[in-house]
Amino acid sequence: MQSFHKCTKLVTQCVSSFTLPVVREMAQKSVARATIDKGHSSWDENIRPVYMDAQATTPMDPRVLDKMLPYLGSYYGNPHSRTHAYGWQAEDAVEKARKQIADLVHADPREIIFTSGATESNNLAVKGVARFYGGKKRHVITSQIEHKCVLDSCRALENDGFDITYLPVQKNGMVCLDELDKAFRPDTSLVSIMFVNNEIGVKQRVSEIGSMCRERKVFFHTDAAQAVGKIPVDVNEMKIDLMSVSGHKIYGPKGIGCLFVRRKPRVRVEPIINGGGQERGLRSGTLPTPLIVGLGAACELCGEDMEFDSKHVEMLSKRLIDKITASLGGVTRNGDAVHTYPGCINLSFSHVEGESLLMALRELALSSGSACTSASLEPSYVLRATGSDDVLAHSSIRFGIGRFTTVEEIDYTAEHVIDQVNKLRDLSPLWEMEQEGIDLSKIEWTQH
């Protein structure tokens, strides 16, 4: 093992002298991988890693499953059947869930439209509002750090001839309200800005944005997939006109979500899915009763347990950050430290390549950002939008803490991260040079 380390160190040194940064980075990655694969040939298939990816999805709460099971069995009626008890039972269950969701966010049950999840809700809100008012209003405002489904919906609108403003964010990930103020136009129909970011956990000033939009009679949509159920949300106080919610981010089932659509002042939306006219014509298709029951139960539990859950998540979040930063230098937290949801911690470890760290940490289920982009090696567009350079963006890891995370898991995570970061840095000549006080930005790399 000693000679293996010596050898990799030599190769690493060699590799780091490539002049082209792209080539250098690629070579460094493959060396790091080779090193890690060697150390981890024996993963026990009978063991589950610690789940630290609560932004990608959450486990379904057993209390939610308990409410769903009867509707996956005996109560199979179509909630739209009006002529018999099977239909009535299902309809009652759907309407109860609609109320549970509405209560959590202080909405009216009639303002809740069921969808397949936040992706569909975001599509419906962004395209639906823009298209409905598209005769006169041709402009939509959003931010550069939105989830891909909002950004892609905006791209689709651009193809239809709409104008989109993609607001930049500040270094801390917050949308600058002055920039928003300047972006409004007489033909702006919609502002779509997310509540809590899924990669860096930043919480936008939703109330202020809501007021600014209401004053200008522009509709305000917020993607609250990472916020509802975890922090208090009040659609009236915050002047939200449309809001997307997802079941599987709040310990509910996958494949269900909803869109809040305000009735007063009325927001009109052009449907994307046409058919039988369910959900006030905004979303046709037979409602999936068991999933809806699950979403309703998940919302009710989030409301009941919010204080209990958030105290726990806050405590664990602080514990993890304190442990890691106490033992490691060169750690940067991405995103604002105050305007944040504590269950989402995004850290960059200088001179450690994020993907290599993830591969080394097989006992932890972690990700370097959103699940949609984690397959590609391109750095996160969210981190780029915050002005983080590519190198630091490449060295980022997201820690997702939730209701079911334990203190023991946090300590285990901290221990393993510290250990692996130290190991990877021991292999990095750049880290060594920096420790010796050499300013890396001043070095001119030469080719052999």
Binding site: E45, N46, I47, R48, P49, V50, Y51, P59, P62, R63, L65, D66, L69, D305, F308, H312, E363, R403, F404, T405, T406, E408, E409, Y412
Partner: protein, 86 residues
């Protein structure tokens, strides 16, 4: 009266929670039961106590059912689960 009933119920709730085969569900349920019990420890209103007892009894049924459901399918053990109950 309701107070004694509550203490007894919480003891059962704790015992039942400890039977979850899933490490995370088990830890969460035990922690939640302790929290709930402490929160309601100083409740004096009989009316409120009775409502709490009713809710706790329902909770107990849910946990009992879900402990059974959780054991229907064998899954890999959590890496930190030193005391698997299955």
């Amino acid at each position: 009266m309701a107070r004694n009933q509550l203490a007894k119920l919480y003891k059962q709730l704790l015992e039942e929670s400890a039977k979850f085969s899933d490490y995370n569900f088990r830890c969460h349920s035990v922690r939640r039961m302790k929290y709930c019990y402490e929160k309601h420890l100083n409740e004096t209103s009989d009316e409120k106590l009775e409502a709490i007892v009713t809710k706790a009894a329902k909770d107990l049924q849910v946990i009992q059912r879900q402990v059974v459901v959780g054991r229907l399918y064998a899954v890999e053990h959590h890496i930190l689960d030193r005391d698997p109950t299955t």
